[in-house]
């Protein structure tokens, strides 16, 4: 170490002019134990005593993918109900217990494929977290009322307004997913659902959903952090062991219909800048091709030196924002590129500049350098994720994510191997097969043409 330091100091100037070497990142160690209770609840344990905190994170293997037609948004509405109290948790006290105990990152999130609930608590309050989570897993329906459902229905409708309707481009995203996954595919739309469907959700729907999907044999409990290995299993058993196993939920039957011809929508919205979304339905999570597209997204849009950012924001200076991602899902992933223009740019101008850059990755392999950088970025960001115990993207989340998608919470080294195995040629091949002009969804959003109205008198004009 010392020797390396002085070498760097001596060559300080030189280091500025030669290209930097790619960091070599060893596969990080994420030790864990997986076991199962008699009732089928999977448990993932991982110790970390860096700070006196323990993260508890339950993944229920249910999400918008399990919704039936006419009940869009139901999985997420249900998630809200889970915070409203259960047999031994009085209404409106769930957060109070945790906030008073000094918990951080208390939340629940619903995605297409899963719903999760998490809290990080001071390690001497682990029992409290287990008590709260087990009570709502075992006894939610004991105190559920129409009033609680009605109240959360209203809250969720406000959430829809806030996250979809009252934000620039929020509505475009909903169109985008509807085009990518035509009904009856349950990814059709946004997870939050429509007002109509939310209004239609009944108390019986909630009860049925709970009895089918919120059962120990459809859930995985991760406990990560500063717990005592000597008594952790006894604690888990005490709180969760008596919750009865139920029938295995039937696996969802979902057919991914390939997009046979380009689908295109032109929208106008109350936005200032034009924006174009491109999307493709691509191989499902952890299937062949998923890794290539993950790195392709990085090569296209991650950082100034990425292809699209360089071309559109630096060289041509026509775009103010560029993004790309492979959103890995169980029933058809989405490869997405979006470009927001600079003032005055039209969607047509954006498309004319964007498409050739995307298409180039299908006609020639990326350089070795580009691919190495993308891999390093992925590895480093995965390593950084291991600092946090739980919550959004911490270790509990990672163990659960791998477990949900591959059945192996310890998939991390395999994921490093999977990403490292991508070659410039394999990337080009997958990209050419998956990302074409003929199977894409394009949603082009243009700003409304504004007519000046005096302040505060424009209401009711439209």
């Amino acid at each position: 170490m010392k020797r390396a330091l002085s070498a760097v100091a001596a060559l300080g100037l030189l280091a500025l002019i030669v290209p930097v070497a790619n960091a070599s990142i060893a596969v990080p160690n994420l030790a864990f134990e997986k076991y199962e209770l008699a009732n089928g609840l999977e448990v993932l344990l991982s110790e970390d005593h860096t700070v006196p905190l323990t993260s508890v994170e339950i993944w229920y293997h249910v999400g918008a993918k399990n919704e039936v037609p006419g009940r869009s948004g139901f999985a997420h509405l249900f998630e809200h109900i889970m915070f409203q109290g259960s047999r031994d948790i009085a209404e409106d006290t769930f957060f109070k217990y945790l906030e008073g105990a000094g918990a951080t990152v208390i939340n629940g999130t619903t995605d297409f494929d899963r719903t999760n609930y998490f809290e990080t608590v001071p390690s001497n309050q682990l029992d409290l977290a287990l008590w709260l989570e087990s009570d709502r897993m075992g006894f939610l329906l004991d105190t559920l009322t129409q009033e609680r459902l009605d109240n959360q229905r209203e809250v969720v409708r406000k959430e829809r307004q806030q996250s979809t309707e009252n934000v620039p481009y929020g509505v475009a995203e909903e169109h985008f997913y509807k085009d990518l996954y035509p009904a009856p595919h349950p990814y059709n739309g946004v997870v939050i659902g429509s007002h109509e469907d939310l209004k239609a959700a009944s108390l019986d729907d909630v009860k049925g959903f709970f009895r089918t999907y919120y059962v120990p044999n459809n859930a995985t409990l991760a406990i990560v952090g500063d717990f005592h290995p000597a008594d952790i299993k006894a604690k888990v058993d005490k709180y969760f062991g008596s919750i009865p196993r139920a029938a295995e939920p039937a696996p969802e039957q979902i057919t991914v219909v390939p997009i046979a011809a380009e689908k295109r929508e032109a929208l106008t919205d109350d936005v200032e800048l034009a924006k174009v979304y491109y999307g493709w339905v691509t191989p499902s999570s952890f299937q062949p091709g998923d890794a290539e597209l993950t790195l392709a997204a990085n090569i296209l849009a991650d950082g100034k030196a990425s292809r699209l950012q360089k071309a559109l924001t630096l060289d041509k200076a026509i775009a103010s924002d560029v993004s790309a991602s492979q959103y890995a899902l169980q029933h058809g992933s989405v490869f997405q590129v979006s470009v927001t223009g600079n003032p005055g740019q039209t969607t047509a101008q954006l498309e004319a500049a964007t498409w050739p850059v995307i298409a180039a990755l299908a006609s020639a392999p990326p350089t070795k350098d580009e691919l190495n950088r993308a891999l390093t970025a992925w590895q480093a960001s995965t390593l950084r994720q291991l600092q946090a115990l739980g919550g959004f993207g911490g270790k509990a989340d990672m163990l659960n994510y791998y477990n949900h998608h591959t059945g192996d919470p310890g998939y991390l080294p395999k994921d490093f191997a999977r990403m490292s195995a991508v070659t410039p040629e394999s990337l080009q091949k997958v990209f050419a097969e998956q990302v074409k002009a003929t199977n894409r969804v394009v949603v082009a959003v243009s700003p409304e043409v504004k007519t000046e109205t005096p302040a505060a008198t424009g209401g009711g004009v439209k």
Binding site: A9, P52, E99, G102, V105, Q387, K462
Partner: protein, 505 residues
């Protein structure tokens, strides 16, 4: 077996508690009942009855917040270091007293544009090379601008790539080129961003609120990225001059957290930052805002919006001022938690909002208190009334002991979360230079918070929650339609009796 036994014991205690407080008394009473009454069939034992009582906390950890190690580089730059062995990662923050309070009059946006330009090219690296070098090193390089400081940061790997990562950080911080072509591009990007924000109701609300509290010429009353007119007028020479004035060793502190020893940190940082020529500039001074405190509604019309964005608040306290903890605890009780009154009222009782939050900002010079929410448009006036009602309630009686305890516990018992990652740890210690605090600031934080008394918290609530000093910003539709019926949103707001000022975004 043992577990089953203790469970049923617990169940008994719980049943006893339902009869009378205190276990001993409950047991006694039960005995008497057995004597005087004909023996009823015992009720079926609910094996889950033990769940009725929340488990208490175990033994609290003796953990205390870290105290940073401190040392100085050759040119006097102070360094705060937290050693966190473990994952091979390091986070470094270069903190410079060059926030937007240093903006000259009429040059709103200059501090942010200067920070933005740092990683757009150096003497030896182009903007592209800076980015591709960072990526190749597995590092994340960033620049940011706050009201009271600017930050250049890197989250890097240890080992062979740490030296080159710190080279990159120093190159960006000390040798920015401020190329005029790159400047034109970055300025255009800023202008696009300003335009994009003009259609975001939350941005409009935040900006309008600051302007109302501080006045439109005060650095705290202008948006960080500036406005269209001010940014259009900025030249590359402005950026060069700003950098020259404020980015100096005397104005800089370095914070570092990660798997690195003090000796290595000193060697690595001295080699890169220790030779930076010393100059004598002090931190910028900023004058107090001169806006009279009078309650009013400032209304920005968004004709088709389904929600109204609300900001209700008033000038607040400073991070190191005597009222900080009294005010912070009052704000936490009333607005800062999910369980706070305002959120429970708007979200859980009325269902008008997805959520409402708020509290006092941490500020070196001029903080604010604010309540922030979005509500369904037809209930705008009603929501304002409810928020003011909750503020008034908090200002009219001392806080209940339990509420104060909960607010304090929610802050102090979660403190370890500030040190869970290198990024969080470094960010926590940025507060040392930002607020002029010492290496033990997080220990002092606990001591000071623990010392706040109900009377002081009540006094702060009386001052800051007084409805007569609240500025109410509404960004929403003047009229809206609910199930075919038109609602006169603005008319209902006017009927509340405040002065109403209508303004444009």
């Amino acid at each position: 077996m043992k577990r089953a036994l203790s469970s049923s014991l617990l169940a008994l205690v719980v049943l006893g508690l339902a009869v009378a407080p205190g276990t001993a008394e409950a047991k006694k009473k039960k005995k008497e009942e057995v004597v005087v009454q004909p023996q009823p069939l015992p009720p079926p034992v609910d094996p889950e009855a033990w769940r009725a009582t929340a488990p208490g906390p175990g033994v609290e950890s003796t953990w205390q917040a870290p105290i940073a190690k401190t040392f100085s580089l050759k040119n006097g730059i102070p360094v705060f270091l937290v050693e966190r062995p473990g994952l091979p990662l390091v986070s470094v923050r270069v903190v410079v007293n060059a926030g937007r309070e240093a903006n000259p009059a009429g040059k709103a946006g200059l501090a942010a544009l200067t920070a933005d330009m740092l990683d757009e090219g150096t003497a030896t690296r182009s903007a592209l090379k800076i980015n591709s070098d960072a990526t190749a090193l597995g590092a994340v390089l960033g620049t940011a601008s706050a009201p009271d400081h600017a930050e250049i940061s890197i989250d890097a790997l240890t080992g062979d790539s740490l030296g080159p990562s710190l080279d990159l950080l120093a190159d960006v911080a000390l040798k920015p080129k401020f190329d005029s072509k790159e400047f034109s591009r970055v300025r255009a990007e800023t202008l696009a961003q300003i335009q994009a924000q003009a259609s975001d109701p939350r941005e409009i609300a935040t900006r309008t609120f600051a302007q109302q509290i501080f006045g439109s010429t005060h650095p705290y009353g202008t948006p960080s990225i500036g406005d269209t007119a001010s940014v259009k007028a900025l030249k590359v020479s402005d950026v060069q001059a700003f950098y020259k004035s404020w980015y100096t060793p005397a104005n800089t502190t370095i914070v570092i957290s990660g798997a690195i020893t003090e000796a290595d940190a000193k060697t690595l940082l001295d080699a890169r930052f220790g030779t930076w020529a010393k100059t004598g500039v002090k931190r910028p001074t900023v004058t107090a805002p001169a806006v009279p405190l009078k309650p009013r509604v400032v209304f920005v019309n968004q004709p088709d919006a389904v929600q109204s964005v609300l900001r209700i608040g008033t000038p607040g306290v400073t991070r190191t001022g005597p009222e900080y903890w009294n005010a912070t605890l009052a704000g936490t009780i009333t607005a800062g938690m999910f369980s706070s009154r305002i959120n429970m009222n708007l979200r859980e009782e009325h269902g008008w909002s997805y959520g409402a939050g708020g509290g006092f900002s941490d500020s070196r010079d001029f903080g604010t208190f604010s309540v922030r929410t979005s509500v369904q448009a037809d209930k705008t006036a009603e929501s304002i009334t409810e928020i003011l009602k909750e503020l008034k309630a908090a200002a009219s009686a001392p806080p209940a002991e339990a509420d104060l305890k909960m607010a304090r516990d929610s802050i102090l018992k979660s403190l370890a979360g500030n040190f869970e990652t290198n990024e969080a740890t470094a960010g926590s210690f940025v507060q040392a230079p930002q607020f002029g605090l010492g290496a033990d600031l997080w220990r002092a934080y606990v001591t000071d918070a623990s010392a706040a008394l109900p009377d002081g918290v009540y006094a702060a609530a009386k001052t800051y929650f007084n409805p007569d000093r609240q500025i109410i910003v509404v960004v929403g539709p003047a009229k809206t339609t609910v199930e075919g019926k038109e609602v006169d949103v603005l008319g209902n707001i006017k009927a509340l009796g405040f002065e109403v000022v209508e303004t444009k975004p």
